[in-house]
Amino acid sequence: MSAAPAIQLRGVGVDYGRKTALADLDLTVERGETLALLGPSGSGKSTALKAVAGFVRPSRGRVLLEGRDVTDLPPHQRGIGVVVQNYALFPHMSVAANVGFGLRARRAPRAEIRERVAEVLDLVGMSAFADRSPRQLSGGQQQRVAIARALAIRPAVLLLDEPLSALDAALREEMVGELLRLRAELPDTTIVHVTHDQSEALALAHRIAVMRDARLVDVGPAREMYRTPRTEFTAAFLGAANLLPVEVVEVDGEGGATVRLGDAIMRARVSGELDGRRRAVLGVRPQRVGVHAEGTGGLPARLLAAQWRGEVFRLDLRLDGAAHSGQEVRVRAEVASIEGLPPVGGRVALTVPDGCPLIADASPEEET
């Protein structure tokens, strides 16, 4: 057993012609770890996976698997399991033949292939479909077969490129559960899971890496990234839809701070480097914003829109006389009930709880 990390990317860059799809990515994934690569469309997530799998040759940098430099090795000599977005099952082979493909390519004995195929099909709950053609399977079933096919070769590293994005919401929930169960059964398998769904990333990953414009902007343990995002981008990407401009009143030594938003003073957790700046943003999840009838204290605001979303009402609000340089501040809130609130266009009072993450403002500090 080597102690080297399962995957190491050292300054890996990928250019397509003049376009940089991946810029100097440094990333290490430990053995048995699940890393979620999160980021908007076109941010280079798939490209990063392709560099690991050997589908693209990096223009710069080195790729190491378990300490071994594989940068110049073609994909078929890397032994990595890959599940792509559209599954790419071999349509001219049965499910069992699909799953056994990797073992046949390795010239494993027939009996062993049969045994292993049965084993992994069982693992993903697809034993009953061994003789079907991929065309006769639903999206979720195809996905399971694609995972079984990747697992059949007992890869040390499993790369999942948005494996759930083609599924409907209910099935996706179910498959997240399946993946969790699978991961528990394969504790030594290193998984890199590309997604642009934050809840998927939070549910599955030990660590989350956030990408933007071909760059890695943030990486850290999933919980920490969620609770104390270091950048506005990460905060926004991990569900803190509201980034409210606040004034830093005081920073204590234990990661806490006092901030002022309009006339309200509240406590916050410092999560990015503030560097002594007085302006920062407070990341507030829509569920945590309190919306009350006017005159109950809190920040005065106007209700711009209300949408019923079944479980919750989603409210769009605008803060009055907001703190930040004449800029209009919009707030999104999710509340269980709108009883007692005025109709759209009416005035309300907002409350923001203590303990929200305080993030350094990305915009340059104005000279005052």
């Binding site: 799998a53 050997g54 589908f55 073609p74 994909p75 078929h76 890397r78 032994g79 990595i80 399991g81 890959v82 792509v84 977005q85 559209n86 790419a88 071999f90 349509p91 001219h92 493909f101 990797g102 390519a105 390795r106 053609s133 096919r149 990747a150 070769i153």
Partner: protein, 265 residues
């Protein structure tokens, strides 16, 4: 359908049937009838006979038919191999070389067959490349004329194919040769069969270049038909045409069954 009202739709259908009937079905029907007509002076043939068809399936005519079948089989096999290989080899490449190769491979499609015939005649009439007067020059002409169709059929299919499939196969440990044999070729089989069918049909009907090039011992069926109709032997020509159609149809049906079987898996 882009047309919604019932009347306008019926008008379109009637129009289509009339046009299609007049320019496609009617000539074929007339040829079918003429092939078995004893004489034809009025609106319909005066009496039926099997003599023309008998003549068209024996003697010289039979020899021509065999020549046509061999030519078409060789030309389509050659063009599927060559065109398919070119399509696979060029697949995934981009840039100037790709555009140049694409252009060259499509060139014969744009050049009239008479020009191809004349070109080959001029090019291969002198040693060391003296092919004029041999069957080879006919085969080459057919190959040149059908190659672009094979190439573009296979190449279009490869463009449409999911690129991830071959990559995943490689990731599972299959060498490039193995990926080609067990994944890429089987997936391209329907397109290869379609391109063979197209090449076969085109070659069976080729006249423009063949008539400039054929040696006496390698006369294809269309050349024979042309000669017959030139002589005024229209019934005989019709009978030969029916044979030509029949042979082409058999070939296409055979290839089509390959295609459907490949596509069904």
């Amino acid at each position: 359908m882009l047309v919604w009202t019932r009347t306008s739709r019926s008008v379109l259908v009637v129009l289509f049937v009339v046009v299609f009937g007049v320019i496609v079905v009617a000539p074929l029907a007339v040829i079918g009838l003429a092939a078995v007509a004893a004489s034809w002076r009025g609106v319909l043939p005066g009496g039926l006979t099997g003599a023309h068809l008998a003549a068209a399936t024996g003697g010289d005519a039979l020899a021509s038919a065999l020549v046509s079948v061999q030519t078409a089989l060789i030309a389509s096999a050659g063009s599927v191999l060559l065109g398919g290989w070119a399509a696979f080899a060029l697949h995934g490449s981009r840039g100037r070389i790709r555009r140049l190769a694409d252009g060259l491979l499509h060139l014969p499609m744009a050049v009239p067959s008479v020009v191809v015939g004349l070109g080959l005649l001029v090019a291969f009439s002198h040693p060391p490349l003296l092919l004029n007067g041999t069957r080879w020059i006919v085969l080459i002409a057919h190959l040149v004329l059908v190659l672009p169709f094979s190439y573009s059929t296979v190449s279009a299919a490869l463009e449409r194919a999911d690129p991830d499939i071959a990559l995943v196969a490689a990731c599972l440990g299959a060498s490039p040769a193995r990926v080609l044999l067990t994944v890429r070729l089987p997936l391209a089989l329907p397109a290869l069969a379609a391109s063979a069918g197209l090449a076969l049909a085109l070659s069976m009907g080729e006249l423009g270049a063949t008539i400039m090039l054929y040696p006496p011992d390698w006369r294809t069926l269309p050349v024979g038909i042309f000669a017959q109709s030139d002589r005024g032997a229209l019934f005989a020509a019709s009978a030969s045409t029916v044979v030509l159609l029949g042979l082409t149809l058999v070939g296409l049906l055979a290839l089509n069954s390959v295609r459907t079987r490949a596509a069904e898996r």
